[in-house]
């Protein structure tokens, strides 16, 4: 069976590394991007099943990046990464991506795997 491809987008390098370590061990193919712009470049050349997107980043906003990615790759699914369960960015992410699955910082392995499995099942 082909491995599912996941892209983690966060300006915090340690989050990208940590997510990659855990998901790789869990059997996914993981790529990392440290900004919305970088994520769009990656999506243009490669198809991802799932994108984990930090909503607050310098430069391009997480929800805007998701909207661009959706245009390029409509089947890609999304999980939002946020510091809090409320706020405009959360609302915007839900309306752009049509999903309501979030990881709230700081999260650990358990939360991460549960969210990913929920989105890809």
């Amino acid at each position: 069976m082909q491995k599912l491809k996941v892209l983690i987008v966060d300006d915090e390098q340690s989050i990208c590394e940590g997510v990659a370590m855990i998901l790789t061990k869990a059997g996914y193919l993981v790529s990392k991007a440290f900004s919305g712009e970088e994520a769009i470049r990656l999506v243009s050349s490669e198809r991802f099943d799932l994108v984990l997107m930090d909503l607050i980043m310098p430069g391009m906003d997480g929800a805007d990046a998701c909207a661009e990615i959706k245009k390029i790759s409509p089947e890609t699914r999304f999980i939002g990464i946020s510091g809090s369960p409320a706020g405009q960015r959360v609302e915007r992410f839900v309306s752009v991506c049509g999903v309501d699955v979030f990881l709230y910082k700081p999260f650990g392995k358990k939360e991460l795997l549960a969210a990913v499995e929920k989105m890809l099942s």
Binding site: E12, I15, D54, F107, K109
Partner: protein, 402 residues
Amino acid sequence: MRKYGAKDSAGIRSQLAQRLKAEGRLRLLSSAVEQSSEGMAVSDLDGNLLFINHAFASMHDYGPEELKGKNLDILHAQGQVAAVKEANDVLLKYGVFAGEVWHARRDGTPFPAFMHNSMLRADDGTPIGMIATMRDVSDQKEAEEKLKQYSERLEQMVEERTRELDRVRADLFSSAKLAAMGRMGAGIAHQLNSPLCGGMLMVDSLMEDARDDPERWRKLSTLRRSLEGMRDVVECMLSLAMVGRRGQPAFLDVNINSMIRRILGFVSLQIQQERIDLHTSFDEAVPFIKARSGELDQIFLNLINNAIDAVDEGGRFEIATIYKDGAIQVEVSDNGRGIAPENLGRIFEPFFTTSQGRKGLGLGLSIVREIVENYGGTIEVTSETGKGSRFLVKIPLNNKIL
């Protein structure tokens, strides 16, 4: 027979006129004294009354004739022996006394009298008696008393208002302080959240690798717990910023008993490890209460964590819920260190902590109080050093937060 001359008769007329005039003056003086509103009396040196005017007699509820020949003593109120003696001593020494002495009416009712006494002397200066003038100063006294009471009440009112103002000012100050710290805390917390998250993910991943290496696994678990401690601090700072920001999280019907059971489950490992003797008592009649998610949990998580921190290994910690007088009451008590009396008044202040960097920021109880008060509730604390502490939280079911 000697005939009166015109001159003689004129002299007699003039003498008579003088006599009449003198008598008239005496009568006038006498009636003036009689009718004066000031009480007047003359006594001999032993105090036997020789003359009493109408006012003097009637102030004591007697007629003037009744008192004639009586001794002054019968007119003094009980317990005035010393005062009267002192007045007499002054009179003998200086020839005059002015001051207050309590007199009594016929039925024994005492009244304050202002006396002005002087010595009555013969032409050669020998003292032969005493002249007393007196005024009944009951009304004046009463007015003075009323004035005193009024001014005391006024003082009390001013004091109360001042206290109220101080309280309002303190509240304003503390909520402004809290709000400012909340904003600052939220900023810091958001900054810390990401690296903290990265750290937790990496440690989790490394722990997975270390499953067969107990020593490494143990070290990583310690690191994981430290990161969780950081997470708690960050959460605390964020929730401080949330408090008072109304209408954000949704309202839920909360069962306090299950909430507390959940929290106890959350800390059960620690309770077990430290062999803490936990006693619970849940009043199953505690009704559901409307609350914002994450708010009431904060109260009890903080109080429970504090209790666990306060007891030594093997200590005892109790938690009880009661539904009483329309309010949910939760009592959290421990037999731990207790709080020193000088700190008891400060434990609800933000950043007040005695744990010297060991744990937390000293924000827990300030948040607890803020939330409890937002729900229109109260929190009481009693504590004794070395014996333990007891916190009682009361949250009314019909609270103002709705």
